[in-house]
């Protein structure tokens, strides 16, 4: 049987050192994410969610432990290889969208493909497809500032998709959006997941954890709870949240 593990963290810890202080951001994390899985990472502010996502996204390195992505050990890679993996294997969706203000919608989505040195026609095909997928194909020449927050985040999703990454990492993707736009983005992610995308999402909004196959709860840098979709649904009922149509 084929190995379906995409991400494997073993005894991973992250410590931040300052002059006088040693902060244990993550401690002894064991985590496996399978291909096609949708995992949400929750927890209170400062619990280490974003640090974990940064390490998964190769933006940061663990202090100890091992990290394998698609079977490849990440710790020993140099900066250029890490950049290559970020470009090919990972698609980022940030809370604050992080689009580049001077580039048009098209150019923003095309950007990761240019770093892959893809030919222009191939880039165009992929950009068109990604924008089509997020329903923004009609805004090619717009600049980010000319779009609403929800539209900007959809462009950010398209940018993450354009490179056909192995995994989408989303850091509070609805954090800067109103509830309607937030739900639209979550619907989009669910749709992508249904299409086979592997998603790892940080959120502290309990409404959205149920979109995931599996939810991980962090507290003080440790995984303290891991629940699957049905458990999550039950918990949500107990906490008094109503399910929206999109989530049902």
């Amino acid at each position: 049987m084929a190995d379906t593990t995409l991400i494997k963290l073993d005894s991973m810890s992250k410590i931040f050192y300052t002059d006088e202080l040693e902060t244990h951001a993550l401690t002894n994390i064991h985590l496996e994410v399978r291909k096609g899985e949708y995992v949400s990472i929750g927890g209170p502010s400062g619990c280490g969610k974003s640090t974990l996502l940064s390490i998964l996204g190769l933006l940061d390195t663990p202090t100890s432990g091992s990290y394998k992505l698609n079977g490849e050990a990440i710790e020993s890679l140099g900066a250029a290889d890490r950049a290559r993996i970020r470009n090919r294997e990972i698609g980022f969706i940030f809370q604050s969208f992080n689009l580049i203000g001077d580039l048009t919608v098209y150019e923003n989505v095309e950007l990761p493909l240019t770093y892959r040195r893809l030919a222009a026609p191939e880039r165009k095909r992929r950009v068109d497809a990604a924008l089509e997928r997020v329903g923004m194909a009609h805004r090619l020449r717009h600049y980010p500032a000319q779009l609403s927050g929800g539209q900007q985040q959809r462009i950010a999703v398209a940018r993450a998709l354009a490179g056909s990454p192995a995994i989408l990492l989303a850091d509070e993707p609805t954090g800067n959006l109103d509830s309607r736009n937030g739900e639209q983005v979550m619907d989009l992610l669910r749709e992508l997941h249904r299409g086979g995308a592997t998603i790892c999402m940080v959120t502290h909004d309990p409404r959205f954890t149920r979109y995931a196959d599996r939810s991980i709860h962090l507290f003080d840098g440790r995984i303290v709870e891991e629940t699957h979709e049905r458990d999550a649904e039950r918990k949500l009922h107990e906490s008094g949240f109503a399910l929206t149509g999109a989530a049902s």
Partner: protein
């Protein structure tokens, strides 16, 4: 007023707080303003200040012209006729530069002086400090000999003793009575070398004054009150036409021209000074662009402060005013520092200035210059402060006061002004560097010009044989023979010779001639050639090859048939395709007059200067056509050390022999290039300053860009950009900016460097090699200046950058 005082106080405090910004801005502006002040002080003294004479705008330079001369001096008879007949001029005075030895004290001192007509004194309207000016009667033959001296000479040689007026002193061969001492700093004529004494020009002029055909004296006139320049010119033209008709032999097609005296005095240096003023202006603009860039960066930091001021009711105009007070204050402080730098700069300029620049000693930081610096400082403050002030005062209050992150990185549109400034800086630097490059290439070309003689390992001694000691012609000839023998006996000397004028002295004697056996040329259209009197051994000593015929020998003396050596260009122009040896040439006028036979042909040399192409030249034997003025030259491997031996050798012939100068030919060659070297050094220094400022500008905008684009760089890295991609992004931006600046600069330079044409040699103002080199240089500097910011960008931590706001 209260607002202004309040703003000034606040500005001082704000500048005091931002110490690095203030220091960099003041230093940048101080260099630029200092350079402007220094150059303006030169322009003011030379071009702008009126001549130091009463109503100097009425003084006109009068020249004669005919078919041969366009801008020539006067003969004595033409001068006296014109003076008598003119109705438009109140006075017309003549003068001629002279030199004489003052025999006072142990060592005779050679002084520059001027023989002037008595009309000079009322014409200039300057009264002596002591005594009186010489009179019209004293300015005529047969009168007691008189002289006037300068204040500086009076102080230097007579210790400012008033009793010197009325005393007799020996100037040249005769004792003269000093009748007056001119005031301090009096100068006439205004020349590179100041005259220190004035004697009457007319004292040895008989009615003919060496003939109507001999043109040698300069003429200046003062127009009568209310007479326009055009009316004065018409008056003179009428007189010239009359004289032309009256004396057709010597005054063929004669006409007289006038030009304001001031324009004539500065004609030679005006283009160079204008180019210099443009150059320092460009440096100032670059400095302004740099400081404006700094202010824009600072405005970004002060965005919140300005928004708060605006929120509590300050109008946009009020905020702009406050920011302008800051920039003007900065500029005025820089102006004061610049003034200090300029005082040293002026000293340096005066010390380095070549001899051909007139009125150098009047260059000073005076009230006009101070006012210029003040006005320029205030204007500068407004120029560099206005754009940042307008930009900073345009705030969106809601956005500015709101904390929090934005959904996309900030656009670079706000950098547009900064980018334009950097492009402008680059464009201006290109212009200046192209100018410096053109001058450098011209200078190198000129330095590489073969003068036609060997200037290495040769030294000359310049003297005038004393008439009192050697009054007879045969004694002069004998002196030359003995001097050559004494000089040849100096250990190490391999050859010796002499000429009345050595090459590259920036002057020449030109004589007309005819070729025997040819139909005579129409009167006034005779050909002319440079005339030099040379001793035997001259060509060998100077290293001038003699491809045809024979050299002049000691036997070419008064008893031998008159001989002549001509240059190849003489043969090419006047005896083409003929064997010149044995041809006879009739030289006009002077003691060379008569028919001479060509015995040899020498190669061409640059006689007047390296710039002027070799001209047809004839060399006559100095033992046949005697001259008291002689520049003996010796060739020796140790030439540079032989000065004392040369002096000793000539003193053996005459213990009291005054010596004008002892110089190596190498020195003469360097001095002939001094003016161009001076210009090159100045423009080169300004271009270097411009390049440094432009590099700083590029560096600062790229640094600022990296800081501003940190978040974007982080995003790009998170999307997989490698270090090289980021490096390329930043350097690419710099190259793009510089590229646009380069194109603009090249277009600007192509249009503007034409004003430099008169300063160039051997290349055009659009020399492609210079333009290409400057493009490469600027491109290289742009890459270097953006290297550090670009390297810093590659080290951006994407994690931090993404959270960066």
């Amino acid at each position: 007023m209260t607002d202004l005082i309040h703003d000034l106080r606040y500005a001082l405090r704000a500048l005091g707080k931002a110490k690095s910004f203030t220091a960099i801005a003041i230093l940048t502006l101080a260099f630029a303003l200092g350079a402007n002040t220094a150059i303006f002080s030169v322009i003011s003294a030379i071009l702008l200040q009126p001549l130091p004479y009463a109503q100097s705008e009425e003084l006109m330079w009068i020249t004669g012209a005919n078919t041969r001369w366009s801008d020539g001096p006067f003969s004595w008879p033409n001068y006296t006729d014109m003076k008598k007949q003119s109705k438009a001029f109140a006075q017309i005075a003549g003068y001629s530069s002279i030199s004489a030895f003052l025999y006072q004290g142990a060592e005779p001192e050679r002084l520059r002086g001027s023989a002037v007509t008595a009309d000079v004194w009322p014409m200039l309207g300057v009264k002596p400090h002591l005594g009186r000016p010489f009179t019209a009667k004293e300015d005529s033959p047969g009168q007691p000999l008189v002289v006037m001296i300068s204040y500086e000479l009076w102080q230097r040689r007579f210790n400012g003793n008033p009793a010197v007026v009325g005393s007799q002193q020996r100037f040249g061969i005769n004792p003269r009575t000093i009748v007056g001492v001119m005031p301090r700093n009096f100068e006439f004529p205004i020349d590179a070398q100041k005259a220190e004494f004035w004697m009457p020009l007319g004292e040895d002029m008989d009615s003919d004054g060496s003939g109507r055909g001999a043109i040698w004296m300069n003429v200046v006139g003062r127009t009568r009150d209310g007479v326009s320049r055009e009316a004065a010119a018409t008056d003179l033209k009428t007189i010239a036409a009359r004289l032309s008709k009256q004396y057709p032999d010597s005054n063929t097609s004669l006409t007289f021209n006038i030009e304001p005296l001031h324009d004539v005095m500065v004609r030679e240096v005006r283009p160079a000074l204008i180019v210099l003023m443009c150059a320092v202006g460009v440096v100032l603009l670059i400095g302004c662009a740099n400081v404006a860039n700094l202010l824009l960066a600072r405005a970004a930091v002060r965005h919140k402060e300005i928004s708060i001021r605006s929120a509590i009711g300050a109008t946009r105009g009020r905020i702009v005013f406050q920011l302008l007070v800051e920039s003007v204050l900065l500029s005025v402080i820089a102006g004061a520092v610049g003034l200090l730098l300029a005082t040293w700069g002026v000293d340096l300029l005066v010390a380095l200035a070549p001899a051909e620049i007139p009125r150098v000693d009047t260059i000073a930081i005076d009230r006009t210059v101070l006012l210029f610096t003040l006005v320029l400082s205030v204007l500068t403050g407004i120029i560099f402060g206005l754009a940042p002030a307008l930009s900073a005062s345009k705030t969106n209050l809601v956005e500015a006061l709101k904390e929090g992150s934005r959904g996309s990185t900030e656009g670079r549109r706000r950098n547009r002004v900064r980018n334009v400034l950097v492009m402008g800086e680059v464009a201006l630097s290109v212009f200046l560097l192209v100018g410096a490059g053109l001058l450098l290439r011209s200078f190198l070309r000129l330095s590489g010009v073969n003068p036609g003689f060997d200037y290495r390992n040769a030294i000359s001694i310049d003297l005038a044989i004393r008439q009192s000691a050697f009054p007879k012609d045969e004694e002069v000839a004998q002196y030359h023979r003995r001097a050559l023998a004494e000089l040849a006996a100096i250990p190490g000397v391999t050859s010796v010779g002499g000429a009345n004028h050595l090459p590259l002295g920036n002057n020449e004697s030109i004589f007309t001639f005819g070729i025997v056996g040819r139909p005579p040329y129409p009167q006034g259209q005779e050909p002319s050639a440079t005339h030099v009197q040379v001793t035997p051994g001259y060509f060998r000593t100077m290293g001038i090859p003699l491809p045809r015929g024979r050299d002049l020998s000691p036997d070419d003396n008064a008893k031998a048939p008159p001989a002549l050596v001509v240059s190849e260009s003489f043969v090419k122009q006047y005896l083409p395709g003929e064997n010149p040896i044995g041809k006879q040439v009739a030289i006009d006028g002077g003691s060379s007059g008569g028919i001479r036979t060509i015995v040899g042909v020498v190669r061409d040399i640059h006689f007047v200067s390296l710039v002027e192409a070799p001209k047809p030249t004839f060399y006559v034997p100095a033992l046949q056509v005697l001259t008291r003025r002689m520049q003996y030259t010796v060739r020796a491997p140790n030439a540079a050390t032989l000065g004392p031996s040369l002096r000793a050798a000539v003193r053996k012939l005459d213990r009291e022999q005054p010596i004008l100068e002892v110089r190596t030919l190498e020195q003469m060659r360097s001095e002939s290039l001094a003016g161009r070297k001076f210009m090159l050094v100045l423009i080169g220094a300004l271009a270097t300053l411009a390049l440094v400022l432009a590099a700083v500008g590029i560096y600062s905008i790229m640094s600022y860009t990296v800081t501003q684009r940190t978040s974007e760089i982080g995003i790009r890295m998170s999307l997989g950009a490698e270090a090289r991609d980021i490096f390329r992004l930043i350097v690419g931006q710099a190259v793009k900016l510089v590229g646009i600046g380069l194109v603009a600069g090249i277009i600007f330079a192509l249009a503007a460097t034409r004003i430099m044409s008169s300063l160039l040699y051997g290349i055009t103002a659009t020399d492609p090699a210079t333009f290409a080199s400057i493009c490469l240089l600027i491109g290289g500097v742009a890459v270097l200046a953006s290297y550090i910011p670009a390297s810093r960008a590659t080290r951006v931590d994407p994690l931090v950058a993404i959270r960066y706001d």
